[in-house]
């Protein structure tokens, strides 16, 4: 995970050097879709709720299939 994160950052920096001032392909088109969505502080908490809900589901699946 750490390796992936470092590689991603490296490529982002490299893209910025090679194509200065240009939007990111795909990502720059997807991000405007979320404009006006995360404009309230409640989303910070809702992300935690979503993470919690998935952790409960993941716990159920992982525990049931690990034996």
């Amino acid at each position: 995970m750490v390796l992936g994160f470092v590689t991603m950052l490296s490529f982002l920096v490299l893209y910025g050097i090679l194509f200065p001032g240009r939007d990111m392909p795909v990502v720059s088109e997807v991000l405007p879709m979320f404009e006006g969505v995360f404009d309230s502080g409640i989303w910070f908490f809702l992300l935690g709720v979503i993470f919690g809900a998935f952790s409960i589901i993941a716990t159920m699946l992982a525990e049931a299939t690990s034996e």
Partner: protein, 555 residues
């Protein structure tokens, strides 16, 4: 017309008939009805009954795990509802999907899922373990009770949907949810009554509290409809509070007293107080809950009537609500002393559920007294305190009912499933998160309610900015409850698979049954003797031992 007394008279009559039927049976038809009921619970369901496991404890485990998940859902809905009170457009992006979230609707969803999903399922789950133990028998049908948990969960899910969108495809959702819930309740009642009919000993009072919780709810509905009070605002208000006093109060009291005794290892402090709690809960009106009884009209599809009580109803209602303080204080005192045993401190505070039971018992009295003032104010038509009704109702749910039901569930789950929670440390964190979040969050929200009331009274043209700030802080604080519920869920689920196995069945005293004699085989402390369930009247019999070496018996 005097609605309250006439309806209560019918309610008491129905309860008396139920009690006589349970004690005496149905004369020569008892065996036939028992066989028929067992057939309805199992064989009549066909292949559906084969989907679930019928091993001992499976029903309790299923109900309690469902209850934990609903606690998480209820806390989330309540948190979002509290947030939207100060920031109504926070979730406006959902409108592009056709969903228009409103604060009042989400708090209503939180109340419904907390009452019927979280508290209801944990109380019934704990009851399915406690009642057979107290009766000295096994649950009549584990399979049916497990299967019915799915039906109950489905009905709570429909309640959530109905609270957001009352009519879908021309069908009013909440009455359908109530119908499914009633069906599940009847199955549970039949299961419990058959279990009790096989009792091998006298049922102690906590067992009767559990029985009257499930039967009393049905009796309350029957009484209000038979007396015709369902059309009046006072009748609808009364049904809301009779259900609160029977299913919720009696149920919570029964499983909490059982769990406090079993969990702490101490016998119940006073059996007389348990009997008084049972009697008092049935003859008085429990004041806890909202002043708005729209939940009753929504669930039963009734036309909502304004609460316009006659002077005689105001007097009798206020008197009976004030009288309810006695069983409430009796129950709270009995719980607190039982948890402490003969000491000044809780005997084993690290045992699962004990901290929650302690919190619920502490908070019960102040919340009930606050509710008494608010309800008397609403019944009398003064409506000066209606502004804090919602916050007080949420306090009753999150600081009294959820801690008591959660405490009982945490205490009983290892005994039913055979495995402890995965981590005691995570359980303790979850307790502090839930307690801190609910207490601080709702207290600060109530402070904002008081400010609102003061501004309304002074007819101020602009609201105070501090009010929004307070509501914001209150909702953020309440988020701790959501995090605590997530901790409890993952801890309980993982515990079912990897938790430390419960080595032996608990040999400590069960509920109000104290040990009559105690055989002393080795030196021990008086504390250990008392912790095993002995009282001052227990006869201690030293067992004779010899230190000499043994040898063959001479013939």
């Amino acid at each position: 017309m005097d609605v309250i007394i006439s309806t209560l008279a019918v309610f008491w009559l129905i309860l008396a008939i139920f009690f006589i039927l349970i004690k005496r049976g149905l004369w020569i038809f008892s065996d036939v009805s028992k066989s028929l009921s067992m057939f309805m619970l199992e064989k009549a369901l066909g292949p559906a009954i084969d989907f679930v496991s019928g091993r001992p404890g499976s029903a309790t485990t299923a109900w309690i795990i469902h209850g934990f998940v609903w606690t998480f859902a209820a806390s989330t809905f309540t948190f979002v509802g509290l947030w939207l009170t100060h920031d109504p457009t926070a979730l406006h992006s959902f409108e592009s999907w056709g969903y228009h979230p409103k604060s009042s609707e989400l708090i209503y969803a939180g109340r419904l899922t907390a009452l019927f999903g979280a508290i209801g399922m944990m109380v019934i789950g704990a009851s399915l373990h406690a009642l057979p133990k107290l009766s000295g028998t096994n649950l009549a049908s584990e399979s049916n009770a497990t299967l019915v948990s799915l039906l109950w969960t489905l009905s709570v899910l429909l309640m959530f949907i109905g609270s957001q969108n009352s009519v879908i495809l021309g069908i009013t959702i909440l009455p359908v949810a109530n119908l499914l819930l009633s069906l599940a309740s009847i199955a549970i009642v039949i299961n419990m009554v058959i279990t009790v009919s096989e009792a091998t000993k006298d049922i102690p009072f906590p067992g009767w509290l559990i029985l009257f919780a499930v039967i009393g709810n049905i009796a309350a509905i029957l009484a209000v409809f038979v007396s015709g009070a369902y059309e009046e605002g006072t009748g609808q208000w009364l049904l809301f509070h009779l259900s609160g006093g029977t299913f919720f109060f009696c149920g919570l009291a029964g499983v909490s007293l059982y769990s406090a005794s079993v969990g702490s290892g101490n016998p119940l402090w006073s059996k007389s107080l348990v009997a008084f709690t049972l009697f008092g809960a049935l003859v008085t009106i429990n004041p806890m809950g909202s002043t708005d009884s729209s939940m009753v009209t929504d669930l039963f599809s009734l036309s909502s009537s304004e609460l316009d009580a006659t002077s005689r109803d105001v007097i009798s209602g206020s008197f009976l609500m004030a009288l309810a303080a006695m069983p409430i204080i009796a129950f709270s005192a009995n719980m607190l002393v039982t948890l402490r045993g003969s000491d000044a401190f809780v005997e084993n505070p690290d045992a699962p559920g004990i901290a929650e039971l302690n919190l619920g018992s502490w908070m019960l009295v102040p919340v009930a007294i606050g509710a008494l003032f608010v309800q008397t104010d609403a019944l009398g038509g003064v409506n000066e305190l209606t502004g804090i009704s919602q916050s007080l109702d949420l306090m009753a749910i999150w600081l009294v009912m959820i801690p008591l039901s959660l405490g009982a569930a945490l205490s009983i789950l290892p005994r039913a499933s055979g495995r402890h929670q995965l981590s005691e440390n995570r359980s303790r964190w979850a307790y502090w998160m839930m307690t801190g979040g609910a207490f601080l969050g709702l207290l600060i929200t109530m402070m904002s309610d008081f400010t609102d009331m003061a501004l309304t009274e002074s007819m101020a043209e602009q609201g105070a900015s501090i009010n929004d700030e307070l509501r914001k802080v209150g909702s953020v604080m309440f988020y701790g409850t959501v995090v605590g519920a997530i901790f409890h869920c993952t801890n309980a689920i993982s515990g079912q698979f990897r938790g430390r196995a419960v080595q032996t069945a608990s040999t400590s005293s069960t509920s109000s049954i104290s040990v009559e004699s105690y055989t002393l085989t080795s030196p021990t402390t008086i504390r250990k003797i008392l912790a095993s369930g002995a009282t001052l009247d227990t006869e201690v019999s030293p067992s004779g031992q010899s230190e000499e070496e043994g040898s063959a018996t001479e013939l």
